[in-house]
């Protein structure tokens, strides 16, 4: 397939789907690409085909509405398709069902969303430890709890949502562990009062856990996971205001653990294309520089959604509409009025989203949870001590660490260790993490089987394929 679209949107979450809908409604020829098999993104990920029927939830209703809107539009939805390389101008290399094709467009919108950050602790690589946000992906697709008795640990509202979903799906929650204090939540309360429906949902999650006698450990953190090929116990300790440990560990029994420390924007595609990046803790770390309506310093490249800073699903959707309208207007279609409405809604929902993001901003003590023996780079099995040895030998950037220790070189492309490695460099050099930018991303943006790129699939050789032959 080689088509020239007016606009291609990468990412079918609330932001990308709304951007595509807005541009399509202006009469443009729009393609919407996502590696998932259905529209919805992370927040409204669709159930897989094995679920014939199940009770509806807030998430399934919102996702179904978005899916219906896209289906009823003229958008070309290319599902199950991974964008692995982008050339300026724009040509996208898209891998779908083991075939790589090129798609071209006049303007490109990237709505690549977020992934989660998990602070490495001893034992976090044990099978049976899931990311906290990752667990919701499992629930949404498979309606399966993570185990029989699960400890749920993390920051912000997500920890209570995950605990509640485990109970809804018939699992048992052994304990909720959150670095946030009750006082952190009291501070967030004023902005939550403006969103009574969300406040009510959160209150029900917490009240249900309390009625069920599930212990909620406030201002506590997971320090260690024991078990080998299965979780057997989880140690937790008390934190001070700066999230430094202040107590000895206590051990809790469980067969599974969901563990997370907030979300970080997926900036790789934008960064690779040359969009300048800056660091802002209030938005989840490194973010690409954009104008309010999604424009970038690069002609006909637009960005929207949590990939431009963590503001939550509702803000992502409004920002998507705004960005889609703006991209359409730049191609000569559309009105300023609609843009104004979308911008007002976006700014309002963004304020609330950022209050939630603030609950996950890392504090100075957090880095100490990663002990010298802790594996930091999961792919290459590299410990903090090995990375520090590289630093002592003179390595000063994420790139230098990569070539010295292989940390960040594995098949995930450094997506799950880059933040922790930057933390270590910052500690060693005394500089703030804002001075330690991530290594420049290189294609492929997603693992590409070598059978596509150069002959046969070889896991070890990833991720450095040749350009696709098609």
């Amino acid at each position: 397939m080689s088509d020239r679209f007016d606009i291609i949107v990468v990412g079918g979450g609330p932001s990308g789907a709304r951007a595509a809908l807005a541009a399509s409604a202006q009469g443009l020829n729009v393609a919407l690409i996502d590696e998932q098999s259905a529209i919805g993104g992370q927040v409204w990920r669709a159930k897989n085909a094995s679920i014939l029927s199940a009770p509806k939830t807030h998430e399934t209703r919102a996702g179904d509405a978005l899916r219906r809107d896209v289906l009823a539009s003229d958008i070309t939805h290319i599902e199950g398709a991974r964008v692995w390389q982008i050339e300026t101008g724009w040509t996208l290399h898209v891998l779908r069902k083991d075939v790589s094709s090129e798609l071209t467009c006049k303007s490109l919108v990237l709505a690549t969303g977020a992934r989660e950050y998990v602070q490495p602790v001893p034992g976090w690589t044990t099978s049976g430890v899931l990311g906290l946000a990752g667990a919701t992906a499992l629930f949404k697709q498979s309606l399966t709890p993570p185990g029989k008795r699960t400890i749920v640990s993390g920051t912000g509202p997500l920890v209570f949502f995950v605990a509640s979903e485990i109970r809804r799906l018939g699992g048992e929650v052994a304990a909720v562990v959150t670095p946030n204090s009750r006082r952190d939540w009291m501070r967030a309360l004023p902005s939550m009062l403006g969103r009574p429906a969300l406040l009510m949902r959160g209150a029900i999650w917490v009240a249900d856990l309390m009625l069920a006698g599930v212990p909620i450990y406030w201002q506590r953190v997971v320090t260690d996971v024991s078990g080998d090929d299965q979780v057997r116990g989880v140690s937790i300790a008390k934190l001070d205001q700066n999230w430094a440990r202040t107590s000895e560990d206590i051990m809790l029994a469980a067969d599974s653990l969901c563990l997370g420390n907030g979300l970080i924007p997926n900036i790789e595609a934008a960064h690779m294309l040359g969009v300048p990046i800056r660091h802002d803790h209030a938005l989840g770390g490194w973010i690409p520089e954009t104008t309010e309506d999604g424009g970038t310093s690069i002609d006909r490249l637009y960005l929207c959604g949590d990939g431009t800073g963590i503001r939550g699903a509702e803000a992502a959707a409004h920002q998507g509409t705004l960005t889609g309208l703006c991209a359409a207007a730049d191609l000569g279609h559309g009105t300023v009025n609609l843009q104004k409405q979308a911008k007002a809604k976006w700014l309002k929902s963004a304020r609330f989203g950022m209050t939630m993001t603030a609950l996950s901003i890392p504090r100075v003590g957090q880095a100490q949870l990663t002990t010298p023996e802790t594996i930091v780079c999961r792919c290459e099995n590299v410990t903090r001590a090995t990375i520090e040895a590289e630093l002592n030998a003179g390595a000063q950037s994420s790139n230098a660490i990569k070539s010295g220790s292989r940390a960040g070189m594995g098949p995930c492309g450094g997506k799950f260790c880059a933040t922790a490695i930057a933390q270590l460099i910052a500690q060693q050099s005394g500089a703030p993490v804002a001075n330690i930018p991530p290594a420049t991303p290189r294609p492929p943006l997603r693992p590409v089987p070598l059978s596509i790129a150069a002959g046969s699939f070889d896991y070890d050789a990833l991720p450095i394929p040749k350009p696709a032959p098609l």
């Binding site: 099978s127 992906a137 309606l143 999961r378 089987p449």
Partner: protein, 95 residues
């Protein structure tokens, strides 16, 4: 006991069971679900061995990024969280 969050487990209707193998042992899943979910429900969490120390690893991000859930099917390494279960599928532990 009063529950504010209902237990929906018994209201979920899944597709017909299918049988596949993981390292030669039979595992039951449902047609159309992903391998990571089916293996997890069967208590099979250890999906690959880490390089260097061979430590057991399993699904972690559940969104196709971390590559911890990779398994081998027909000699190809694939992400269990993005692969559909089918009748008779032969799945091997990777790494």
């Amino acid at each position: 006991m009063i529950r504010l969050v209902p237990n929906h487990a018994l209201k979920i209707v899944r597709s017909a069971p299918v049988v596949f193998t993981f390292d030669g042992q039979s595992v039951e899943g449902h047609a159309g679900e992903n391998l990571a979910g089916a293996l997890l429900r069967a208590g099979r969490l250890h999906l690959r061995n880490a390089p260097a120390n061979g430590g057991p690893r399993g699904a972690f991000c559940c969104m196709g990024l971390c590559q911890e859930c990779t398994v081998r099917i027909d000699g190809q390494v694939v992400e269990a969280c993005r692969t559909e279960v089918t009748q008779g599928l032969a799945v091997e532990r990777a790494g």
